[in-house]
């Protein structure tokens, strides 16, 4: 008797149900990837308009976000307990905000 093809459900990302229950670690991963893609576009913009403050600020924000979320992953890779991953996410975003605010105050205000 021929076997029916197996039916396997996957999260449908185009639906709200698919995103329901999305957790901190997933957001951290997504934001880091999104920042990387956005960086490609902003770097091109920055090369064309190097003295435009808005683009400089956006570039800095994306570099901080992407870089510090990357440091978070490296720290987990090197053996920091995984149960700290949410705390590390908060620290990475907070540190990015503090550095951004400091540079903003010094450079663009």
């Amino acid at each position: 008797m021929p076997q029916r093809p197996r039916r396997i459900l996957r999260r449908r990302w185009a639906t709200t149900e698919g995103w329901r229950g999305t957790r901190a670690g997933m957001w951290a991963w997504l934001v880091q990837r999104a920042a990387a893609v956005a960086l490609l576009a902003v770097i091109v913009l920055h090369v064309r308009t190097p003295y435009w403050g808005g683009v400089q600020a956006l570039l800095l924000a994306l570099v901080l976000l992407h870089g510090l979320l990357g440091v978070r992953v490296i720290l987990l890779d090197f053996g920091l307990p995984v149960r700290w991953h949410r705390l590390l996410l908060v620290l990475a975003v907070a540190l990015a905000a503090v550095i951004f605010a400091a540079v903003w105050g010094w450079r663009w205000s």
Partner: protein, 231 residues
């Protein structure tokens, strides 16, 4: 309260069926499903056994998150509409019932079985406070409920990725000094679809009712692999 339940049988289209169930104090999602099945639709299929959070057979996706139905109080969901779906990434059998056989298949595929050394000591002593035991102990309580595999987004993207449960099991034997190493392990571990495929999202860790961290086990395996390459 309203239960919105995923229904599907081979040869039929999937649908969401609504059941109106009177919520009572202390009622769990499993209680609500049993009530719906007994009073409203005896064809509703779901799996359960112990009903007290020991067997892990009632794993489902409840309001978007993998949980055991028997350990999920309706009150804790803080909503009167509860959506219940089968676990993701497993072959569907019917309604909320999935085939968990891939768990065992993936565990066998990565060589996560104990292989004794050729010249075993009469008794291989691993003390209660030995560092080796302290590393392994948190990972050995897996009862194979499949919640971690359902929550893992990488399983969805790469069919060759063994998933968190199999890799967690692999860690428990690979870190055991009495184990000689399965011949299949190295090829699996160093393939691009295994250890490097985990992106440390910790979804598996977040949903595990046994408080195991498969992410931790995968990262530990990765460190062991790197040390092996460098030594």
């Amino acid at each position: 309260m309203v239960l919105k339940v995923f229904r599907w049988s081979p040869g039929f289209r999937e649908r969401i069926q609504r059941f109106w169930v009177p919520a009572k104090e202390g009622m769990t999602v499993l209680d609500a499903l049993v009530d719906a099945q007994r009073r409203l639709d005896p064809t509703l299929a779901f799996r359960y056994a112990c009903r007290v959070g020991m067997c892990g057979s009632c794993g489902m996706v409840i309001n978007g998150r993998e949980r055991w139905a028997c350990r999920t109080l309706l009150k804790s969901l803080e909503t009167r509409i509860v959506t219940v779906r089968p676990l993701y990434h497993f072959p569907l059998i019917r309604d909320l019932v999935v085939d968990l056989a891939p768990l065992a298949e993936q565990t066998a595929r990565v060589g996560a079985t104990f292989v004794p050394k050729e010249e075993p000591a009469a008794f291989a002593r691993v003390g209660a406070d030995a560092p080796e035991r302290r590393r392994i102990d948190p990972a050995i309580e897996c009862i194979g409920c499949g919640l971690c595999v359902s929550a893992c987004t990488m399983v969805a993207n790469d069919e060759r990725f063994p998933g968190p449960a199999a890799l967690n099991r692999l860690f428990t034997v690979a870190a055991d000094s009495r184990d000689a190493g399965h011949p299949d392990r190295a090829a699996v571990l160093f393939s691009e679809d295994t250890l490097t495929r985990c992106h440390s999202q910790a979804n598996c860790t977040d949903v595990c009712p046994m408080e195991i961290s498969p992410t931790e086990s995968i990262l530990a395996l990765r460190r062991r692999a790197v040390r092996g390459l460098l030594s």
